[in-house]
Subunit: 341 residues, 2 copies
DNA sequence: TCAGGTTGCGCAATCGATGTTGCAAGAGAA
DNA sequence: TTCTCTTGCAACATCGATTGCGCAACCTGA
């Protein structure tokens, strides 16, 4: 069993008959540079091992002003962000640093506070995922000289890696159109015979780009587009339930196509959809901009656009490593078409 | 904009015409106790505010040997653990501390390393969720004098809060039985006309308890139970797919009842189930020991047992607060019966 | 034997915040 | 006026690891 009273390099030094600085050098691997005899270093290392010594990281961080901590800020713990977190953790571990993951609930104030906290911890780097106010956060980090990168939400003044939402939305929309045509829906014939875009926040670039990709694809097919077809105020789950329900009432039934922005919106929508008879559901072609394995197992066909979370994270690390200037790197999402039945 | 060079209490002291210790006292709120004049304290606080000062937390932690960090260790980021993480974060924030969430991939070695890391950071407390080797971890924490608590997986030598898996499994099993009877299944008539338990790790207490609850309920109804009906080696998703598939082959079809242990197993199972025609699915009554909103929207009825994650976390905090001795506190899960169709 | 080079290691300052101790100035009492 | 309190604040040691600097001891060649 290890000591109750925490050991310090001074304790080790005493036991090894050396000085604290020698111990420090030995344990750091800098002993060669500091011309410590190999035998001395090895003796010290052996003693430290057997005593179960581990350095006080605050002291080290205080001295070196590097904490060995790398943070990931996510809005919440949904499937997409959790996947990102998983990939991020593994990568940080592989670099012998410590991953710290914090959710900020899409609250700009909370984001700022968290960044302050983290810089007060001399954090080595911060990954922002889906932040609400990127530029503001970036300025904070720059002021505190903290390297940082944005994922899934671009920042004008910092390196960013984002999913190509516009192209993705375009492709997904075309898939929905194809699916409707396969069912002989007279696209555009009536307000119900078209596609509606639901969910997300139009003020955010990702939603904006998805709306653009959606609009382009639909316009290319139909030659027109009603602004009413786009209902994008929030990612909130309950709001999604309400939106779909309202749309249903307005149209007197489900539309023939639905473009659903994000998995939380999907989940919210399903709460309403679950109350409908199966026949109504199968009369609508669904496209979801996100991937949710359960989606493929529902009673109606759902096309999904999966964001490549591993790629996003890996590219983000690459940008950090090369101390990249502000650029926006695009990663293409993958289409998961609905299984044929 | 804040300074480029980080400010210290010494800088503030100079600007305020005071000493560092006075500044420290003023900013800590301990100025009253240290007999600093109110005006002085207010002047210092004002200056610190306007300079955007924030304390170097390593220095503070080094001095006080309290970091203000509270850690949560989870096996992975699935829905249940993510919910726990969310609740945990909020609670820690409310206490003005900093939540740190780390996933250890169910790897005991990784768990130990992480605990070492955390104690090296003078972590204030650790919450272990679903740990593989609780006693070992607990000893480590005790040695390092770190308060800790176990959630969802009991520890013999530390306070723990767990879901009452046994009672929950009993109730869920009865629900499956009721559902089978409603469909006029001749329970026990043939190997297919009964319930199979799939997934989880029998070496872990939670799975063991669920198996017990399941067995009791089934035995109470039938008066017998074949050990073959219990297939519980792992929580792994791919393994679950394989298990269900093998069971299907063995029985020449789906059984009439399935008790599915955890959402990851559910997801794995669905990969196979999705390949079956709808009629086969509706011939089986499903019970899942976990809650997954999508489950209520599948093409077949699924009964679910939801773990009360908020309650689990709140009780865990309570046990920590009262510096509880080793006890195991039970929290009842909630049944979410399949919606009627 | 001595200048000059190399090897091996310890001294002490430092990072920034905290808190104990002690000192000076003013208030009140004698 | 002198003595005792009280008030208000600064000096300084401290937490533990890191690192620039420098000092011995030893070696080598002249």
């Amino acid at each position: 069993m290890t000591k109750l009273q925490k050991e310090t390099i001074y304790d080790i030094a005493q036991k090894a008959g050396a000085s604290a600085s020698t111990v420090s050098a030995a344990l750091n691997g800098t002993w060669k540079k500091r011309r410590i005899a190999k035998v001395t270093a090895e003796r010290i290392i052996a003693i430290a091992q057997e005593q179960g010594y581990s350095a006080n990281l605050q002291a080290r961080a205080l001295r070196t002003s590097r904490s060995g901590l790398v943070a990931l800020l996510i809005p919440e713990y949904n499937r997409f962000f959790s996947n990102i977190a998983q990939t991020f953790s593994a990568e940080v571990r592989a670099r012998n640093q410590c991953p710290v993951i914090i959710s900020t609930a899409r609250d700009p104030e909370e984001e700022r506070r968290t960044v302050s906290d983290l810089t007060a911890w001399n954090i080595d780097a911060i990954f922002f995922v889906g932040s609400v106010a990127p530029e503001d956060l970036s300025r904070h980090c720059t002021a505190a000289q903290v390297p940082h990168v944005f994922v899934d939400q671009p920042c004008a003044i910092a390196p960013s890696v984002v999913t190509d939402s516009r192209t993705g939305a375009h492709i997904l929309t075309r898939e929905i159109i194809a699916s409707m045509r396969a069912r002989d829906v007279p696209i555009g014939a009536s307000p119900r015979d078209t596609i509606y875009f639901v969910g997300g926040d139009r003020l955010l670039p990702s939603t904006r780009n998805r709306v653009e990709g959606f609009s382009e694809a639909l316009y290319a097919h139909l030659g027109r587009l009603d602004p009413d077809q786009i209902i994008a105020q929030t990612y909130d789950l309950d709001a999604a339930t309400a939106s779909i329900s309202a749309l249903y009432t307005r149209l007197g039934g489900l539309p023939r196509g639905l473009f659903i922005n994000s998995d939380s919106v999907f989940e919210g929508a399903l709460r309403f959809l679950a109350t409908l008879p199966e026949a109504e559901l199968t009369s609508c072609s669904f496209g979801v901009f996100d991937y949710e394995p359960y989606g493929q197992l529902l009673r109606f066909p759902v096309h999904m656009m999966r964001q490549r979370h591993k790629m996003l994270v890996h590219r983000a690390f690459a940008l950090l490593d090369e101390a990249s200037p502000p650029v926006i790197e695009m990663v293409q999402p993958e289409l998961y078409p609905a299984p044929l039945r």
